[in-house]
Symmetry: C2
Subunit: 433 residues, 2 copies
Amino acid sequence: MTDYRKLRVALLGAGAVGSQVAALLLRHGDELADRAGASLELAGIAVRDLEAPRETDLPKELFTTDAESLIVGADIVIELMGGIEPARTNILQAINSGADVVTANKALLATHGPEIFDAADQVGAQVYYEAAAAGAIPIIRPLRDSLAGDRVQRIMGIVNGTTNYILDRMDTEGAEFLDVLADAQALGYAESDPTADVDGYDAAQKAAILASLAFHTTVPLDSVHREGITRIDKTMMDAARHAGYVIKLLAVCERIAGDQESISVRVYPALVDRSHPLASVHGANNAVFVQAEAAGNLMFYGAGAGGVQTASAVLGDVVSAARRHIAGGVGVGESTRANMPIVPIGHVTTRYQITLEVADQPGVLATVAGILSEGRVSIATVEQTVTGEDAVTARLVIGTHKALENDLSETVDRLAASGVVQRVVSVLRVEGD
Amino acid sequence: MTDYRKLRVALLGAGAVGSQVAALLLRHGDELADRAGASLELAGIAVRDLEAPRETDLPKELFTTDAESLIVGADIVIELMGGIEPARTNILQAINSGADVVTANKALLATHGPEIFDAADQVGAQVYYEAAAAGAIPIIRPLRDSLAGDRVQRIMGIVNGTTNYILDRMDTEGAEFLDVLADAQALGYAESDPTADVDGYDAAQKAAILASLAFHTTVPLDSVHREGITRIDKTMMDAARHAGYVIKLLAVCERIAGDQESISVRVYPALVDRSHPLASVHGANNAVFVQAEAAGNLMFYGAGAGGVQTASAVLGDVVSAARRHIAGGVGVGESTRANMPIVPIGHVTTRYQITLEVADQPGVLATVAGILSEGRVSIATVEQTVTGEDAVTARLVIGTHKALENDLSETVDRLAASGVVQRVVSVLRVEGD
């Protein structure tokens, strides 16, 4: 075996991903050395509690509670603890002691990305985070490098496996949200506190990271509009299916033309045409659909989560970091010089599907159409069906042309207060055209 | 605007891709500078004939026939001439005069890759070739970097747009090969000499490049088994559809377990189950399906050809090369230290579908089954239908379990000579499980 230069690798965290990373580093050490051109020596694994139960046969002597000592002298620090602190402090320590950093920490990057990237820039270190946006799917390098000469127009991403699993089962089995959620929790697909997933926080963090890469600009997490899937019920699913759609939780990152170009970054459940490639992303899988000016339509598909899957992305970053150490030179910083304004959700233009319950009597459709027209919301399709046993209530499903979110929401308010609308059943955006 | 360091970019070739690269470099110069951290100055465009007609409004003063003078003093050389010479000589000149190289030249890389990569290693230059394997689809960086910590088990790629266009129209319209080919030629999807596409040469070059990246080993082009699509006819398409398959020209790169691991790299038309993600890749699109030990199944989808689409990949490489120039350090060489043996096609194991015309008389199925069993080819499914007006000929469609190619081809020869088989209608491999 070639006598490679040794690089010391410090691992912070031994959870589902961390323990897989450690196991693969040890198991495939020779192979990884040949690829990296450097021997990757796992110097230790920092954990909070040495006695915590772990389903792993990693050598006990690798574990330590002293993250700081481990970081000092490491060439590459892998941060897989998650959360903001002490991850942030440890990463800054690693950078300032000359290490490159590999992290899967989307929450940290979405909130403290600029601080961390600036610190790396100042010392010529590099931060790798392929695992932070879509699990095992290689999407960071394609956006950061392969598409760096192109102009991304729009990203539509299914970037949260838990919600896709839930929505997919609601769609295919006609199940209710809470029943599938309970199942997902029992199977380990959803946390006991499912908020981060079902309320869209996880997807919003990933959307901020993807938009920043795609548009070469800084995207603060609080500029990402976020809606979860808890309001999606069987009725909405059935109606979507009937109309040829499926409901997906989408992270949409969009370039908006204008005197000054701007962008929109938003996460919400949206109707996607069944013929769209994103519609056939089933189960807990993820996919990122990218529309670029020159490249056209691209899609990246794979496992969005899972310990061993995410470990694949982490180890790819470790090999990259090792290659960079051997090659010399400073790290390549983040490209965020575009300084794109980020528009609030009210300024976004999409198509909508509005479902209303109205009194089944003459003149109602004319009144509804009038309110929409006054509100600058143009109707593309209308379907009216009589519902209920009384036969006095009708259901009106209206598909709109592209309309401004502000106009749409004011119009829906006016519809609700109009007297002829008994109930606004649902208002969903339509994405993917 | 920031005062960036200037990098001189030399472009060799002004065809469909080259002219788009030049136009985008000029149009988006400021934006690309912000991303690269360097100003990309198009120093000139080398062409063979200054007077050749070009559909472009690029400044005339950029054009030159003196490639050598342009290369000397360039920081980045983009080679888009295609073919072996003078591309090879020019690339070696560029490397030896200190430039990084960006190329989309699959024919050159598949045949002279090691020579070019070695030359780059010796001077610390880097060769970028994102556009060489699947047009605009980012697949080189994912394989080279993102999956460098994983073990790729298999790649199945639809990497030739022309043949996918032809097979897709044969499938959806029930058309014959030669008719669709003529159409494709009229539309500009196929060359007047379609050999490179329909005989699988283009796909074989891409397969060699992908396999080399995926398995970190050198893959000589002549070790790639290659079959084209010219023998695929309407009857075979119809039979495939009837059995729930679609026929795709696949580039298969596969790791084979054993005392010593080996790989197989092969290009042929294969049956793909309609539920497989590759089955829904329509028209001239490309897709690369990757199965990796840790990451699981991934798919990369997009436009596999086209001037402006390919230009996207080329410009991403130009930005990467510029960033590397600014960051300093030497180039990261190719990872080919695995030295994997490449097995001949006869040692490959796949499933098969064998379609035979047999005499419709007692005992035939038993004879056929006996020959298969003796040949170590295990039957998974059989369907027998009576064909022809005479009602004395039956069609037998046999799906096999996994069998060794050598066993299978000997068995088919024995079937053909058995007396009970009137005609071997088709033998197709089944991929994707």
